[in-house]
Symmetry: C2
Subunit: 310 residues, 2 copies
């Protein structure tokens, strides 16, 4: 029976939970289990986490490959020019997790600003003393800057306003929005107490949150990144935190993932999160449903629901 | 010179930082430093953290005492009937920290719901694995219940709405509000995914968040307490968390403070915070200014700014 079902290849082990659910409709191969050579003649689609670079050698060794289905909203791991040249379609799972990502972004902001992780450790360590308060700055009236005003950026903005925070944003393109657009990324960082990164990651904006931008955010500023590690010069970020040139950071994404813990061992004022912003019981089933539907349509010869390249 | 200034007594060591700032205008005695006996003849006002019981024996040994100035918004440590009988005035510092307390309340909700403290420990401990996501429930569309719709409760409600949460509340008195009032505290807990405690603590509501209310909140519910530990039956809370009858808790306040860390060592799904909700650089100066002004007015024979008993 399984030969009659279209064959797909799951590329990264974190996609393992999808396998069982896709097996009803597809013959599922798992790259990390070393599929047999003969599978290469049948695989019609790759399922990938879109933030990791797609192995082009692997793809080019699959003669029947026609679709790269990104389980994620992000697809920066796929070279779209290459995909077009090779006649490959690309799909992704957009806009299903904006609210969840914004929730974690605000949670990380509050955890850093109000020192919630530190407070928990202090109580558990028996270091809470009656004569020493854990005193933090007030948030009310502070200025928030949002880099990238897409679905996630707008969801962050709406939440921030309810906290009495002022909101501005920057992105490369003007758009109609109820919040002012800063003159530049650097101007936004200079004006902000809290800078949220919510931009799509591309080759063009790699490392755009560099030493200069971090200096503009300054020694009392907080950087919150729920987008992609590649957007930030992480070496410059660590140096700025260690030297007190940046106040705080709260990071859900990193230059490499999982990030090596020793990299952060002596970095002060940072909250670390294991790329969990979109990993919710609400978002994952929707991402799964979109991925399955894009696969189904591809093999049925129908237009994709969420095409990046078609 | 100091004899010409009115004399005041700071009661708890956590009020120590006030001492230096009040010395310009007052002769400041500190109870924890053992003031000399002759000071008892001069002290006209006590400055207290209003949540701790005022020592009536101490107060009655001060013949010139006329004011109990609570540095805090809360004044449940003062027996108001006793104060009136003794001819003592009572002041407090209300409504200066509602936004700050609501900020931490939402921060604790997000930290518990999205497992932010756990995520940070996981990354630092090198336990973040590529093939195992930290998956949490989505918040969007959940039901929030707020116990006590005062300044803090309303500030929590406004923030919660921006997260796409539905809001209801309960308090002993009907009031005009844009959110529905539940039929009872138990009905509110039953309907809620997240229950915020934001009520004033009184003798009447001691332990009102009891085993019955926690059962109504249930095995997927989250209790957030930024009010007072006395409102919750903490023994019942710990039992419910250990047995999985309550989903999660995030606590800024405790039955005794500082809470003994061993009490929480084997309690799962709880975020602990060292009574820090109102301890902000924004709120503390305002609380200080109100306390100083109430003291100044009392000694000048003028009406108090924030009287509880006058």
């Amino acid at each position: 029976m399984s030969d009659t079902k279209p064959a797909i290849l799951l590329v990264q082990p974190q996609l393992a939970p999808l396998g069982l659910m896709l097996e009803a409709e597809f013959t599922v191969w798992r790259l990390w289990q070393g599929p047999p050579l003969e599978a290469s003649r049948t695989i019609g689609a790759l399922v990938v986490a879109g933030d990791a670079p797609v192995d082009q050698m692997l793809a080019e060794g699959l003669p029947r490959l026609g679709l790269i289905a990104c389980f994620t909203a992000g697809y920066e791991g796929v070279d779209l020019t290459w995909a077009r040249t090779r006649g490959l379609k690309v799909s992704h799972s957009p806009a299903v997790n904006g609210e969840d990502v914004a929730d974690l972004a605000l949670g990380l902001m509050l955890a850093a600003w109000r020192r919630i992780v530190e407070g928990d450790a202090l109580v558990r360590g028996g270091e809470w003393r009656a004569d020493e308060k854990l005193i933090t700055p007030s948030l009310t009236g502070r200025q928030v800057g949002i880099v990238g005003l897409g679905v996630i950026g707008e969801a962050i903005a709406r939440r921030a306003e309810a906290f009495g925070l002022k909101v501005a944003w920057w992105g490369p393109h003007e758009k109609d929005a109820p919040w002012p657009r800063a003159a530049s990324l650097k101007a936004l960082a200079s004006e902000s107490d809290i800078l949220f990164i919510a931009a799509r990651s591309t080759e063009e904006n790699r490392g755009m949150i560099n030493a200069d931008i971090l200096a503009a955010l300054g020694p009392h500023g907080l950087l919150v990144n729920v987008a992609r590690g590649a957007l930030v010069d992480e070496t410059a970020l660590i140096a700025a935190l260690k030297e007190g040139r940046l106040g705080m950071a709260a990071l859900d994404v990193f230059a490499t993932e999982p990030t090596p813990p020793e990299r952060w061992a002596d970095v002060p004022n940072v909250v670390l999160s294991p790329h969990a912003a979109a990993a919710t019981t609400g978002a994952l089933p929707k991402m799964f449903a979109l991925t399955r539907e894009n696969l189904r349509r591809f093999f049925a010869g129908e237009p994709l629901v969420n095409p990046v390249v078609e």
